[in-house]
Subunit: 163 residues, 3 copies
């Protein structure tokens, strides 16, 4: 089977699966303070409906361009936003490398987030595609860009927590 | 940990994860023209409700027996079918090898497809099991058989795009 | 890329993905008699709502403390429980090692179970986190503890089959 996957391919895929598992685990566990550390600085973090993305329309639901912006979102969650309690849980599938340069890789993956409100059944909250640019350096991987393109134009309830 | 996974097992699993990620990525991105290339020729592509599959009843929702049939489905999507716009997004989990011969492997995996219609929330569309026979040859993997056994007898809306 | 994932890390992750795929495959296929073999004896198998888990409240929806208990659940499914037919299908994402001792590893992962009742659409049934302690020995892996912490306080219909 050696022709099917070289050791470099193997190491890269395992590293990516580990990265996405740690990323969603951080958010699912609501350890939001650790979330900006998954990004380079500056960076691009964007949540945008697919219809806008495909038409190159700039309007995004969230847009952060540095770790400071990301930390600001965390502050909003912890201190200034007013919202009811909820759980969010994220699933990732279909991680694949679609491009590679000397210091970064371009990765696409599908994500599905489920929301649970008190006294309610768990429901599908937001489903879409991560379109990520991951910087390789110092033996670790960080998101230089993370663009969450979601399929529905509607966001049930509100988008409070990151995807 | 070497006893837990040999390098052959590792290479095979990584190759399978890559195959399913590319397969669902192709369909999610609506690059349907590339879809027949994932199959051998002839091949078997079938979408069948679990209740029929388990009782050996032959009636299938979709049945294609060659790349030509698959291309015909793509033509239907692109040119002759009449249907409203929608997005479909596929998730795969639990990929496992359940049998192996000299030139093919039998693989089971779970899939979930989410549908998004305009002005509607994303919803669970079709959930089931891939029961695949994958030909190994020329350093790549192609589906000799891909049978999508779905749990519900009901298909919300219509089954327009492949699973 | 060798700095990104050592061969031990690779072997461990592949072994874990294989374990979870075989575990959910066993349950999805309703081969319940094989289910207790995934556990050590004694063991801990618990299904508990997140609100109780986070407050250290002991009340669990299911609690089994040995293979005998697990076999008792299987007997209930096969012989004594009265329930309507249904299919359950499980998805796992975000498998990650969060702790390791000489003879066991602590693993977290997300799971989503979909339920299909006759003449009904497939729906989200139960979503949560596996918090597992996996014993390493004799070249295989078994669950010493498997705690299923689910996000919603509500269980639609009934919890008949294991998660």
């Amino acid at each position: 089977m050696e022709a099917l996957a070289t050791s470099n391919t193997v190491a890269l895929r395992i590293a990516l699966e580990d990265l996405y598992a740690r990323y969603t685990g951080c958010l699912d566990d609501e350890r939001f303070e650790e979330w900006p550390d998954f990004f380079t600085d500056p960076c691009l973090y964007k949540i945008i409906p697919r219809i806008n993305f495909e038409r190159n329309l700039p309007l995004a639901t969230w847009l952060c361009e540095s770790r400071g912006y990301l930390r600001d979102r965390v502050q909003a969650i912890r201190k200034t936003s007013v919202f009811g309690p909820r759980y969010l849980r994220r699933f990732v599938s279909g991680i694949r490398v679609v491009g590679q340069t000397s210091d970064a890789i371009e990765v696409h993956a599908n994500y599905a987030a489920y929301e649970t409100l008190p006294d309610a059944f768990t429901r599908v909250f937001n489903v879409g595609q991560y379109r990520d640019l991951i910087a390789l350096g110092n033996g670790d991987m960080k998101f230089r860009e993370k663009v969450c393109v979601f399929d529905s134009e509607l966001v049930p309830n509100s988008l409070i927590y990151p995807l």
